[in-house]
């Protein structure tokens, strides 16, 4: 079967066609204009992943929350479960950009890291 997907690896948004055999093997990837697109298409058709960006509560910070992201992409089906974990986490000011706020979230091997500084109030 063939699957038509839109690449989300960059803002170009290339339309990619993936040919998949009955046993799930990927036969061909066409329409992408870079290597990242090829990788995205293969992942999307076998085990879709998304990066996650959200916020973590901060105690004693200049702002109530500090932005964070998954250091690498997470399995797409675990995104909402990851949100639950992140929404119970708390950081303590000062937070520095790159600080690990949740380690190895849901045993995915992926850390949730701060994407901005949050100085003390």
């Amino acid at each position: 079967m063939t699957k038509n997907i839109t690449c989300v690896a960059c803002p170009m948004g290339c339309g990619i066609t993936v040919e998949i055999a009955d046993n799930g093997e990927i036969l061909s990837v066409t329409g992408n204009t870079c290597k990242r697109g090829d990788a995205y298409a293969r992942t999307e058709c076998t085990h879709p992943e998304r990066s996650l960006a959200t916020t973590v509560r901060v105690d004693n910070g200049m702002t109530n929350v500090v932005p964070c992201k998954s250091a690498t992409a997470l399995p797409k089906e675990k995104i909402f479960d990851c949100m639950k974990v992140i929404n119970t986490a708390r950081a303590s000011a000062p937070v520095k950009i790159g600080d690990v706020l949740v380690e190895n979230i849901l045993d995915t091997g992926v850390n949730i890291v701060a994407t901005n500084d949050c100085p003390v109030k």
Binding site: P11, T54, V65, N87
Partner: protein, 417 residues
């Protein structure tokens, strides 16, 4: 009165990139004025990733992208005043500003770089009928509530307008547990990036209704619902297609308007289509020594392009201050056949380098060509598999081609299907 070689109005990505570039070009006396409490501009609340792929070759969040420039501003000891509002610029390049510690500040600048960014089109500008219930806000305002202040502005959301901020907020609100009922777009296409439709709407089964708009807002104290209706080719609601969608919040993502009050007041020539200043290839406006860059000049879809444009403006301002200027010999640029606008609007024929022209189309096209003509003669033709209003295009006019032009000519860019 203070004296600076260059005053930069706005400390977002445009202002920082311009200031850094001007410093690298040899101008030491630079002051950035920023209205908010920190440098960084709107990037500070854009916590999603997708910034920097072109410029840094990696995918950063907004605050991370900003942080890289804030660090350089500090390392290069570029002066800045935060919490400071620029009030006026004058015809002799003075800047008036105000803040809590200095009071009213008068600054004589040799050059001014306008980098004030843009703001969202509000409900009042849309003339959406309905009650004055609370719960109607722009998507960017909601983004600040959630990402900076840390609270949810609503539980059941309708989003009007499918610009990128609206799409990003549809995902953000969904991740935080809200129910996004739908996104309505007046036009038959989305003005947002395709990838945002995929990863912000399709991933979460949020419906996108094209050629559809909000015609009434219901609710007394709080929004209780909105009436949406399909629109015809004339963009007027089609009777009989009205339906009520229950919601407590209506978010508006209906376009961005460059914030050009200072520019307009001093009489700098503005472009009716971009709502930004008319500039040359150095991003100099019609007032000598005043440059403009970033979203105050024209609304960009990628911050990476803002950075590049602002470096051009920063270099232009530095050259102006250092006296590396000549009397220009301008030709003009003009969008035709589906091209809405081109920036820069004029090019100095004495320019020593290549000139990149940025432009936007007014409709979606498949397998079309971009055709560049000088005084009617074709000079460049480029095939494009896809063209969309939401995605800025560019072509480069090589210097050897530029040198063949004579003054008073016009470069036209158009689409051929």
């Amino acid at each position: 009165m203070l004296n600076y070689d260059i005053v930069v109005i706005g400390g977002g990505p445009a202002g920082m990139a311009a200031a850094i570039k001007a410093k690298e070009c040899g101008v030491d006396s630079i002051l950035i004025l920023e209205r908010a409490e920190t440098l960084g501009g709107i990037l500070e609340q854009c916590i999603h990733t997708g910034f920097g792929l072109h410029y840094f070759g990696e995918e950063l969040s907004g605050p991370e992208y900003a942080a890289r420039f804030i660090k350089i501003v500090n390392e290069k000891n570029i002066e800045y005043k935060v919490d400071t509002m620029a009030l006026q610029i004058t015809g002799d390049n003075k800047v008036y500003a105000v803040n809590k510690t200095d009071g009213l500040i008068e600054i004589q600048a040799k050059a001014i770089i306008l980098a004030m960014g843009c703001r969202e089109r509000p409900r009042g500008a849309l003339n959406t009928p309905g009650t004055r219930a609370s719960g109607v806000m722009t998507a960017g305002t909601a983004q600040k509530y959630v990402n900076i202040d840390g609270y949810m502005p609503g539980k059941k959301i309708v989003i009007l307008g499918s610009g990128d901020i609206g799409l990003i907020m549809a995902r953000r609100m969904t991740l935080e547990g809200a129910k996004v009922q739908c996104v309505c777009e007046l036009m038959p296409y989305s003005s947002g990036l395709t990838r945002n439709i995929v990863q912000c709407l399709n991933d979460f089964d949020i419906p996108l209704y094209l050629s559809c708009t909000v015609i009434d807002i219901k609710g007394k104290d709080r929004v209780e619902g909105v009436v949406i209706a399909d629109v015809g080719p004339d963009r007027k609601p089609i009777p009989g297609t009205e339906r009520l969608i229950e919601c407590d919040t209506l978010m508006l993502s209906c376009g961005l308007i460059p914030e050009n009050e200072l520019t307009r007041e001093v009489g700098i020539e503005l472009d009716n289509v971009t709502s930004g200043a008319v500039v040359d290839e150095n991003r100099q406006t019609s007032q000598k020594g005043v440059f403009a860059c970033g979203n105050v000049l024209h609304v960009h879809d990628l911050v990476d392009y803002v950075t590049l444009e602002s470096q051009t403006a920063g270099e232009g301002a530095a050259n102006y201050v250092l006296g590396n200027v000549r009397e220009p010999d301008y030709i003009t640029t003009k969008g035709v056949n589906g091209v809405r606008y081109i920036v820069p609007q004029k090019i100095d024929l004495k320019n020593e380098g290549d000139v990149k022209l940025y432009f936007r189309v007014g409709n979606t096209y498949k397998n079309a060509s971009i055709v560049v003509k000088y005084n009617g003669a074709e000079i460049i033709r480029r095939k494009r598999p896809r063209l969309a209003p939401g995605e800025m295009e560019n072509v480069v006019i090589k210097n050897d081609v530029l040198k063949t032009f004579s003054h008073d000519g016009t470069i036209e860019i158009g689409v051929e299907e």
